[in-house]
Assembly symmetry: C2
Homo-oligomer: 134 residues x 2
């Protein structure tokens, strides 16, 4: 995004210039809710991301300050990806996407415990997930 001219300063468009691609968003989902941190783990997602797309989107996420990439000394110096504060701040957006889908998708796999908690105690849910990502 930083390298090309923006199409507008609209805030919806700002988010879309990063996320207007399903794969980018699914990687953030894996980091946020599925405790995934490694390339091979993202590659294993149910939606079957292609390896070149995964590599490209991880760079995009890093360039936009949404993930950090560091070396994991504990795991053969593999690259480990983590959400930044800016990335974790996407939690309300993802939560609203989950609630909307849970409402309108008859065959949703949304976690009913998550849905209940999101409806009853949003602040507590966000605190719990943010804490788990530290």
């Amino acid at each position: 995004m930083s390298k090309q001219k923006r199409k507008s300063d609209c805030p919806i468009n700002f988010a879309l210039e990063i996320f207007g691609d399903r794969w980018t968003f699914l990687i953030v989902r894996d980091l946020m809710f599925k405790n995934k941190h490694y390339y091979g783990e993202f590659l294993g997602m149910e939606e079957k991301i292609a390896t070149n797309i995964l590599a490209d989107r991880l760079i995009l996420l890093e360039e936009n300050g949404i993930v950090t990439r560091t070396i994991d000394e504990a795991h053969n110096s593999k690259k480990i990806y983590r959400l930044t504060k800016k990335g974790i701040d996407l939690l309300p957006l993802l939560t609203e996407a989950i609630l909307w889908s849970a409402k309108y998708d008859k065959s949703t796999a949304a976690d009913s415990k998550f849905i209940r908690k999101a409806k009853k105690d949003r602040v507590g849910l966000y605190a719990e997930i943010s804490e788990s990502l530290k």
Copy 2:
């Protein structure tokens, strides 16, 4: 979406199978916040949507029950597009996208009155916008 096999039942993926395309989302934005209802109005968006993409995405939105298309007798029988309840229910998701962008985009065009209201009285804001869309 109804016509092709889904990649997963994940609720994030459900939303992305409809919105994992920036243009679809920008049309919903125009309907939600910019009081636009006609083909020519969407075509005039700042981000410059191509006419074939616009036509395609309007069909997608209609097929997915997010917009209705009717004949506007008051305006030379032009087609008029409106958000359905399912479409209006995307308001929290769009609002979170706006808040996130307003926080992280230094050159945001986000409306400061909207941001203030979203932070102070979310319920009131949603009621006001939903009412305006009826």
